[in-house]
Symmetry: C2
Subunit: 131 residues, 2 copies
C-alpha cells in the first residue's frame, strides 16, 4: 500500500483489529474525528481525522497519525515540524464516532506555533438569548 | 423560528455574531464539531455538533446547546437528564472547523451514566506496525 493514497482506506482493508473496526462509526468519507489531549495537563491540543489505517498506525506505532483531508494523505504529526505526539492512550466514545487520543505533545501542537489550536480563538460570551 | 427545524440553520440565517459566523468552516451539513471539556479537571466529556444557531445559543444562554444529528433538532444538554453543561468559555480553533467548549458538567456527561463518553472505550495499544 502506498503511503499516500488519494482517499482514506476502505473499512476492512487495513490491519486494524476487526473488533475495533466493527465499533467505528465513520463519516461518509470513512473518517472519525480524533481529539488530541495532553495526557498530564489535560490541555485539548487539536482535532484531526483518522481512517481505519491512521487509527491502526496510531495504536501500533506510538505516534499519532491522522488522515489529512486537505492533502489527502497520511500525516504523522511532527514528521515535518518535529512536534511529535507520543501516544499514551486511545479511547473510542460510547457511540463509536469519536476518538480521544491522550498524547505527550512535543513542542507546539498548532501550526501557528501556539501550544494548542484553540489558544487564539476564544469567543465572547453573553448577549441576549435568541428571540 | 421553530425550536426543532428538520435541518441545521443556514449560515447567516441566525443571530450569531456575523464576525464569528465568517470564521466558521462548516461541514456539508452546516455543522462544526464541538468538544466539551470540564473546565477545572480538564476531562474531555463528549463531542457534539453545532450549527450557527446552536453556537449562538451556547454563547448567549450559558447552557451548551448542540444540533442532534440523530433527532434533527436542537438539544440543550441536560434538558431531559438534568445533566446540564454550564458554559465557561468557547474557543474556535486555528482553522475555524472545531469548537472547544469548557463547561461545568452537572452529573454524568454520557447517556450511559458514565462521567465521560470515553470512560468505557479504551483501546489496546501495541502490536506490529503496519507492514
Amino acid at each position: 500500500m502506498p503511503d499516500s493514497p488519494a482517499a482514506p482506506a476502505a473499512p476492512g482493508s487495513t490491519a486494524l483489529d476487526p473488533a475495533v473496526a466493527a465499533r467505528l462509526k465513520r463519516d461518509p468519507h470513512g473518517l472519525v474525528p480524533a481529539v488530541a489531549q495532553q495526557f498530564d495537563t489535560g490541555e485539548v491540543l487539536m482535532m484531526g481525522w483518522m481512517d481505519d489505517e491512521a487509527l491502526h498506525r496510531t495504536l501500533t506505532t506510538g505516534r499519532c497519525t491522522y488522515w489529512s483531508r486537505s492533502r489527502s494523505e497520511y500525516w504523522v504529526k511532527g514528521d515535518t515540524s518535529g512536534h511529535l505526539q507520543l501516544v499514551k492512550s486511545v479511547a473510542l466514545d460510547c457511540d463509536g464516532d469519536t476518538l480521544l487520543v491522550k498524547v505527550d505533545q512535543i513542542g507546539a501542537a498548532c501550526h501557528t506555533g501556539d501550544r494548542t489550536c484553540f489558544d487564539a480563538g476564544e469567543l465572547a460570551l453573553g448577549g441576549s438569548p435568541h428571540q
